[in-house]
Amino acid sequence: MSGPVPLGMPAFPDAAAVSTRDARLRATLRHATRTIRAKRGAAVAELDDWRQLRAAAAAVKDRTLRHLDHHLVRLEERVTAAGGTVHWAADADEANRIVTALVRETGEREVLKVKSMTTQETGLNAALAEAGVRAYETDLAELIVQLGDDLPSHLLVPAIHRGRSEIRGIFRDRMADWGRPAPAGLTDRPADLAEAARLHLREKFLRARVAVSGANFMVAETGTLVVVESEGNGRMCLTLPETLISVVGIEKVVPTWRDLEVYLQLLPRSSTAERMNPYTSMWTGTTDGDGPRAFHLVLLDNGRTDTLADAVGRQVLRCIRCSACLNVCPVYERAGGHAYGSPYPGPIGAVLTPQLRGTASALEESLPFASSLCGACYEVCPVAIDIPEVLLHLRERVAEGGEATVRGVRAVVRPARRHALERGLMAAAGLTLQHPGALRSGQRLAARLRRLRPRRLPGPGRAWTDSRDLPEVPEESFRDWWARTRGGASS
């Protein structure tokens, strides 16, 4: 994945060391994720066949991915037949160039945006700004992020790291720079904040000529695109402008219309814990007299085919961006989304970002280790992505090296240099454990030194003793006790 990767992004543990100390962030995330966790549980429990739906959702995505070329070509045919135009973008820069050129052709200097992960990934807004086009985010949380010169920290609610009083401050201070100012006397009641966003954006919706969206699903057999949303900003952008440009990752295709029946049941309950989200829009090309007259679909690769080439990592392309894994993740809850250094935070980001971008930099290399492997993400994932399995797979790529595909080319990834010391320790430990006698000698040495139990260890051991006491070393290992008391009784 190319796109805006700030250079020198800190590795996850360094970023998290700072963010975990932010008491307000911790309290905000704790409140938000716990609220949605309980609701999701109730929404899922309503459906007796959740397990079967989940299995079908995974199987349909696997079926699609195994013949992705076929489905993409079919989708292109159908969209074109229905009056749309299909563009193909191998990377972020190409996607941005295509969109910029399409906007320029219309002669407009501003575009409205529906919340879209793919255009966050490509850094479209910055690319448009360079071309003199202003992009206005219309999703409430994206608006909060944009007005606050901030970065998204959650898939569904990019401004989840902001509490209501911070949001009020941002609206009060910044709305005037972008259009209609916040109402005087704005309170921090969520309903008032939503009303302020409604007033601020309405004039933009009414005059909009060009909009940019993503899509949740694309149906190959019909050429239909689907956008699932809550606020109505999506509907505004999809129906009022004259030109609609949708930038969508190639993995968002499903083969048949019927396949939607699985995802439209799983996604809302996993995402916002609703039986159904307030608005879902489905469109096929263009319709005379109703909606945009021009529709462009930009199909984005940007690392997805590299991910597809990995038989273990490929399952990550099933993701429907529901964010259930973020909401249940204890690491995400403490570290916050920014520590993941990408528009895709949380457990799914830890397995997606290193595959889309590769594991060459300190940040991407650290992401597969940003998990205690507790498995809560896998348990809630509606498309059954075994995130712990992919984490282990990527850890191996970092620690031991191995084959990977980078921009379409099969390559051998070398073991990460930062892991050299660890590799040495692991080799020594592995050798010891191959010889029970050596293990026994080590245990006896530790027992002799047991009185030297320091409260703080030097060097790498500090990572343990900074926050926890060391366990006491026993006088006698189990192995020695067994030999002493049952000696010879066993093999």
């Binding site: 079967q52 239909t224 029946e261 307030p278 597809l308």
Partner: protein, 223 residues
């Protein structure tokens, strides 16, 4: 593909996909990978009356207001709902709504491609029918058919009144709904008034779409 050098990228991406899938057996066809569809078509068995009650309950959960009447009572109910909010200008798409509102003391604005977003922003309400409604999820689906208008007419005005015929427009489940819908029509699924969970993941109603959604369940197919 026109307008950009997409031809080259198209070929490159498709070639990358094919290389990435080298482990998929050459004889495997797109439908061969198994998908078990052993999930339920419907969650539970319901009589038509029970389905209507479930739809009403689920819409109410989203803070939509649900009303019931017979075909005879529909014009009167619509008049009352509009009057309650002091609606004076009302968008009326071609079809049944014209008849329902024939005697209403409001200015009827017919839907037409000439109506701009600004025009729609200046009306008070819109009255439509629907293609179908889904009981299990509390969802109305509009497909631009008779009495529903273009997508924008149910979006820009702040008050949407949607009429559902209980006799033949309610299905129980999402799978049943998709079977009946035509993907080539522009579809809008509506489950309650617009809402957001963007502030502390707590749901509040009323953002950009209509903030007031009235749903009228009409018991008699004659309506």
């Amino acid at each position: 593909m026109k307008g950009t050098d997409g031809g080259a990228s198209r070929a490159r991406i498709l070639a990358r996909v094919r290389r990435a899938l080298a482990d998929v057996p050459a004889h495997e066809r797109p439908r061969d990978h198994p998908v078990a569809r052993d999930y339920l078509r419907v969650h539970g068995r319901r009589s038509p009356a029970e389905s209507a009650a479930l739809l009403a309950a689920h819409l109410a959960d989203y803070r939509a207001r649900v009303h019931r009447c017979g075909a005879d009572g529909l014009p009167r109910l619509l008049r009352d709902l509009l009057a309650e909010r002091g609606a004076r200008r009302v968008v009326v798409p071609a079809g049944p709504p014209e008849e329902w509102l024939a005697g209403a003391p409001v200015e009827r604005v017919p839907d037409s491609p000439a109506l701009t977003p600004y025009d729609l922003d200046a009306v008070d309400a819109v009255v439509t029918g629907c293609a179908l409604a889904i009981a299990e999820t509390g969802t109305l689906v509009l497909d631009g058919g008779p009495g529903q208008g273009r997508r924008r007419v149910t979006l820009v005005p702040d008050h949407h009144i949607c009429v559902v015929r209980t006799a033949d427009q309610i299905v129980d489940s999402v799978p049943q709904a998709l079977e009946r819908l035509d993907p080539l029509r522009p579809l809008t699924w509506v489950s309650g008034p617009s809402a957001t969970s963007d502030i502390e993941l707590d749901r509040v109603e009323g953002v950009h779409g209509p903030r007031l959604l009235d749903v009228v369940l009409v018991a008699d197919a004659a309506g």
